[in-house]
């Protein structure tokens, strides 16, 4: 305990104060379990915020990483990198896309996707076609450009002046969207299922309208699949649920199961606007990250992890629905696969804290939406244990609530 106290003090002294970490010190992870230095174990229903989709210590990923470390961690994009080519090939073969650009993060991928969309619009129609439509509750990153597509005003406060041309339209509102898109629209960006924004799932008619109207106005339809992808929703990519293809898709998080990476996937008419020198990155697609990405794709495909996520997601959702039958705190259960949101009638922070004390890491977003993002290999017995704890915690909290009324 003395060690962690010292660490907390040092962190406060030396790190910029952007996060407020829990006073836990995980030092080992196996599958869905995180072990802390004091020997406690936690079943992780957050999975590094949807990153560790194959769980901790996946052997294939570890082996690929060991091999990359032993051979070559980094050169630069001045050379050919076999694992980068292989990762791109696998992504192209499994998706709508024709070409891939690797970056370091989801935000960087979203920035790059915007650059591609604006450059194409500029080349074809001139500088006036530059507007970007994003949606309410969206989260696309925190860089200077992407925070303008992230619907949380506090994230933007004090960072102005802001880049121009960004608009927010209500999510799932076909009418509002049809009134907002125009000849000036260069790009429309959305998460097929909003993660950070409270696990809202795009409606079918909304998706159809997005595709039709972006085609009519020749605007890029960009799907931000940073959180939904690599099997989490029960399909390798969430867009497969709707049978609608975007023009550009961004990935990150689970793509390398923990090694920082991002990717832009695009159809060739978009990909071709980039030429040597027009965009770049030092680390993006380096051997370490793309070796991990290749191994992740192999496990995803060989072991049909998306199908497993669908199955375990049904199991978790069924359990939550059963809980909701006699639990008045629960307003609505949303999501697909193992990206599940439980909207509560009150704030969820106390539940998150009580669950942590019982050995379960869950997350609350938007103040009142419990978000479940476990590794896709989570065991049903672990789900049972979490549900039992959640049931007790909710009963206790709703019981307390009724006393104060």
């Amino acid at each position: 305990m003395a060690y962690i106290n010292q660490l907390i003090q040092d962190a406060q002294k030396y790190l910029m104060n952007t996060y407020q970490p829990l006073p836990l010190l995980p030092n080992k992870g196996i599958e869905s379990r995180l072990y802390t230095e004091d020997g406690s174990v936690y079943i992780d229903f957050l999975a590094g915020i949807s990153v560790n989709n194959l769980g901790y210590s996946n052997k294939h990923v570890q082996k690929a990483l060991h091999s990359a470390v032993d051979h070559l961690i980094h050169t630069s994009n001045y050379f050919y990198i076999p694992s980068q080519v292989k990762a791109a090939q696998l992504l192209v073969e499994q998706s709508f896309a024709d070409k891939v650009f690797f970056s370091n993060s989801g935000a960087e991928a979203n920035e790059g996707a915007l650059k591609i969309a604006r450059r194409k619009a500029y080349q074809q129609y001139g500088p006036q076609k530059n507007e970007v439509i994003a949606f309410t509750h969206a989260f696309h990153g925190r860089t200077l450009a992407t925070m303008n597509m992230t619907d949380n005003a506090s994230y933007r406060e004090g960072y102005g002046p802001h880049p121009e041309g960004f608009t927010f339209v209500p999510y799932n509102d076909v009418k509002a969207f049809s009134e907002s898109i125009s000849e000036r629209t260069a790009a429309v960006i959305l998460e097929p299922i909003q993660g950070e924004g409270g696990v809202h799932v795009a409606h079918d008619d909304f998706m159809v309208a997005l595709r039709e109207l972006t085609q009519r106005f020749d605007a890029a339809l960009i799907f931000d699949e940073v959180q939904t992808s690599m099997g989490r929703t029960g399909k390798l990519f969430a867009y497969e649920h709707w049978g609608i293809e975007p023009d550009i898709m961004t990935l990150a998080k689970a793509l390398a199961n923990g090694v920082p990476i991002g990717a832009i996937l695009a159809k060739s008419d978009y990909a071709e606007v980039l030429t040597p020198g027009s965009h770049g990155t030092t680390f993006g697609g380096n051997p370490l990250a793309t070796s991990a990405a290749v191994s992740v794709m192999e496990v995803m495909l060989n072991e049909d992890i998306p199908a497993l996520a669908a199955k375990r997601g049904d199991y978790l959702r069924t359990g939550l629905q059963r809980l909701a039958q006699d639990q008045p705190l629960i307003q609505e259960i949303r999501g697909k696969g193992l990206l599940i949101g439980v909207e509560l009638k009150q704030a969820g922070a106390a539940i998150v804290q009580a669950m942590l004390e019982r050995g379960f890491i869950i997350n609350c977003t938007q103040g009142n939406v419990l978000r479940f993002l476990p590794p896709l290999i989570i065991r049903e017995a672990e789900i049972d244990a979490m549900l039992a704890a959640l049931s007790e915690v909710m009963a206790k909290i709703s019981g307390q609530g009724s006393h104060t009324e």
Binding site: G359, R379, A381, D384, A388
Partner: protein, 335 residues
């Protein structure tokens, strides 16, 4: 509930409902066997039994279970399988998987079973590793259910080396099944903290209490099941003297069971050093003057002792596992 094609590797892979189904199905199969009603669910299949160390019950149970299910069992011992010496486990798994319909492994390394699960492409049954003993758990809990009629409210106390595969498996199984499990052992032989922690988290689904206690008398106070195992595991024979000194207070004998405050049954996964009639037992007596080690005859031969029913149940539970994972049975969802 889907079992077809699944591996039976570690208990954590199964839910309480699934494990209950397996136990109840084993009880059903036991009745079929007693009434001589055929149950050839694996007709025409050939299964491999791979061992890197000796085995009496596991080998017998798998062989007879295969026979009862209409399958042929092929035994291969340490001299017949490479287990990583000349051929990698992965390559062996692919080859065996291409020929056999199912594979049982009783091997030292859990990784070997994991690798087979990954690459064999046919159901893998974990017959025991240094880490886990899942088929033993089904037989143990089936026996408890047969005796008491239910697992609810049961409290199992394991006395002995808390670090071994049986103690660890009991904690996980108890956690999932809602049976409280106390491991009574000296601190030096306490269960791995990671397994204890994992069991305690899983136990929240069921309310089972999973704990480690040093004091054996305190541990057995509210026990309904007393469980012990050999003090010296396979491969640790050089440590007899040290282990005897450490574990003597945990010996299950009349003096200890008098501290049980309610009716109990005794279980042992066997073989047991309960007298000096075996060669090793005689040596122990000669060297240390001990009549028995982990359990005395006065308990082993008492009406409370169910170790032989427990041993027989290895057959029925293993048969249940093989049948549901490879027999294309119709199993309705019991949620």
């Amino acid at each position: 509930m889907t079992f077809q094609g699944r591996n039976f590797n570690v208990i954590q892979d199964f839910t309480q409902a699934e494990l209950n189904y397996l136990i109840d199905f084993a009880i059903h199969l036991k009745q079929l066997k007693q009434k001589r009603i055929p149950h050839h669910y694996l007709e025409g299949q050939t299964i491999a039994l791979l061992f890197d160390k000796t085995s009496t019950r596991t080998r017998s149970a798998f062989t007879v279970a295969a026979q009862d299910l209409g399958a042929h069992a092929e035994f291969m011992g340490a001299g017949d399988v490479q287990f990583g010496k000349k051929e990698s486990d992965k390559d062996s798994a692919i080859v065996f998987g291409s020929m056999f319909d199912g594979i049982q492994l009783r091997v030292s390394k859990q990784e070997t079973v994991d690798t087979f699960c990954e690459y064999a492409g046919v159901p893998i049954w974990n017959g025991m590793t240094n880490d886990w003993h899942p088929t033993q758990m089904l037989a143990d809990f089936m026996t408890i259910k047969e005796v008491y009629g239910s697992l609810a409210e049961q409290s199992l106390v394991y006395l002995g080396d808390g670090r071994n595969n049986v103690a660890h498996s009991l904690m996980i199984m108890g956690a999932i099944m809602g049976v409280s499990v106390t491991i009574a052992s000296p601190e030096a032989l306490a269960p791995a903290s990671e397994v204890l922690a994992e069991a305690q988290v899983l136990a929240q689904a069921t309310g089972a209490k999973i704990r480690h206690l040093e004091n054996p008398l305190e541990a057995v106070a509210d026990a309904s099941v007393l469980y012990t195992d050999v003090w010296v595991s396979m491969g640790e024979e050089a440590q007899f003297q040290e282990r005897i000194q450490q574990l003597m207070p945990y010996q299950v004998n009349q003096e200890l069971v008098q501290h049980c405050q309610k009716p109990y049954i005794f279980l042992h996964c066997l073989p047991a050093f309960h007298d000096s009639s075996t060669q090793i037992g005689a040596e122990i007596k000669h060297k240390y003057g001990l009549e028995a080690m982990e359990v005395m005859d006065d308990v082993f031969e008492s009406p409370e002792a169910y170790q032989f029913q427990q041993a027989e149940n290895r057959l029925h539970t293993i048969k249940a596992v093989m049948a549901v994972t490879n027999g294309n049975l119709f199993i309705p969802d019991l949620a």
